[in-house]
Symmetry: C2
């Protein structure tokens, strides 16, 4: 049986690096795939071989949160998956607001993949009077960004996704912080300055191209 250390006991979330957190999210996706194939158990070395990961790293990352594996047997796929969901905080639904109803904002708002597994896009905002009141293809209404604070409070929104052009990103981040959002996912190519209690994760879509590029032949 998995003996999960109660969260918060001996584990300070803030002391865990963002790279570790992103690996936990990766392990979760691997386990979902194995589960879909009907696998019930997996060892760290099989997991590593199958998904091009590092077995020692997997064991080390999971050991931060408890003892999940059984020597010689490995991990029970469904149980470890649920533990990871709980560790990542995905066992509750988080509401998300997208600020910036341009192409990227609309793509994310209507993407079933982005709003699944613990996330729900609760609102989409813009400051363009031409866009306010219109609907995305998926039916989400574009709201006036000046109503952000009110909507965040009423809907219990926790995460802001910033998809405005770079020059507008800092102002939007400040608006999000004053509206009470404590987690921001920033797609704008701009470094944001926010109060200490707000966590920002910058997304650089080019990094995926760079990783891919590594494996390509050189001229």
């Amino acid at each position: 049986m998995a003996r999960a250390r109660p969260l918060g006991t001996g584990v300070s979330r803030g002391a865990v690096s963002e790279l570790t957190a992103s690996r936990l999210s990766l392990y979760l996706r691997c386990l979902s795939e194995l589960e879909g194939e009907g696998a019930t158990h997996v060892s760290s070395s099989n997991l590593a071989r199958r998904f091009d990961l590092n077995a020692a790293q997997i064991r080390k990352d999971l050991a931060i949160f408890g003892e999940f594996g059984v020597r010689g047997v490995g991990y029970e796929v469904g149980t470890l998956k649920r533990h990871l969901q709980s560790i990542l905080g995905l066992d509750q639904t988080r509401k998300v607001a997208i600020i910036g109803a341009g192409h990227l904002g609309q793509a994310l708002a209507d993407s079933g993949g982005f709003a699944s597994g613990g996330f729900r896009i609760a609102a989409l905002f813009d400051d363009d009077p031409q866009k306010i009141g219109s609907r995305t293809r998926g039916g989400l209404v574009v709201q006036d960004v000046r109503r952000l604070r009110e909507v965040v409070a009423r809907e219990g929104i926790e995460i802001g996704v910033i998809t405005v052009p770079a020059p507008a990103a800092q102002e939007v981040a400040q608006r999000c912080a004053s509206a009470g959002l404590r987690a921001l996912l920033n797609f704008a190519p701009a470094r944001l300055t926010v109060p200490a209690e707000v966590r920002v994760k910058n997304v650089d879509l080019k990094e995926h191209l760079e990783t891919l590029c590594f494996y390509m032949p050189r001229a």
Copy 2:
């Protein structure tokens, strides 16, 4: 001085994991930021502290490719940055085709951030007669996907970015493979089957939300 091991000597690119490649891309972004601040040298431990990374991991990752640091002095920022660009293959421009001119495809086509630092969006394709011939805001013409092979050959395009809906992704991937593209970045929530010589990287935008979620308070 950095003594870079000549690429290919003792290092098989295929043997380096995708996670290592993505960390190299991350180090490159950190170095660019330090360079922008005027830093000339940085140690692995300072790099780790500043960007929430692991110092031993940094040293191990870089050691695969040569000896870049000087004990007690650290890495020379500009030199290491250039070495990483070369290791990642970013010292030459790669042409990219985007297949799928929906919101996400148009967002990527017009995003200066996506098409910078070694990448150029050379063409955008769709199969919708309503879209073919139209232009993105940035001025890129949407071309008929049936002309993919011809345009790839003429323009020397190497990378395909798949931004079509999930049900269409497998057919598009096959089309990309037969057009000669050997690297595919797949944004569609679908597992693609491609010939062995084609490398696919699946992008799951939700993983960024998950990593962020880890640090949020629990209900």
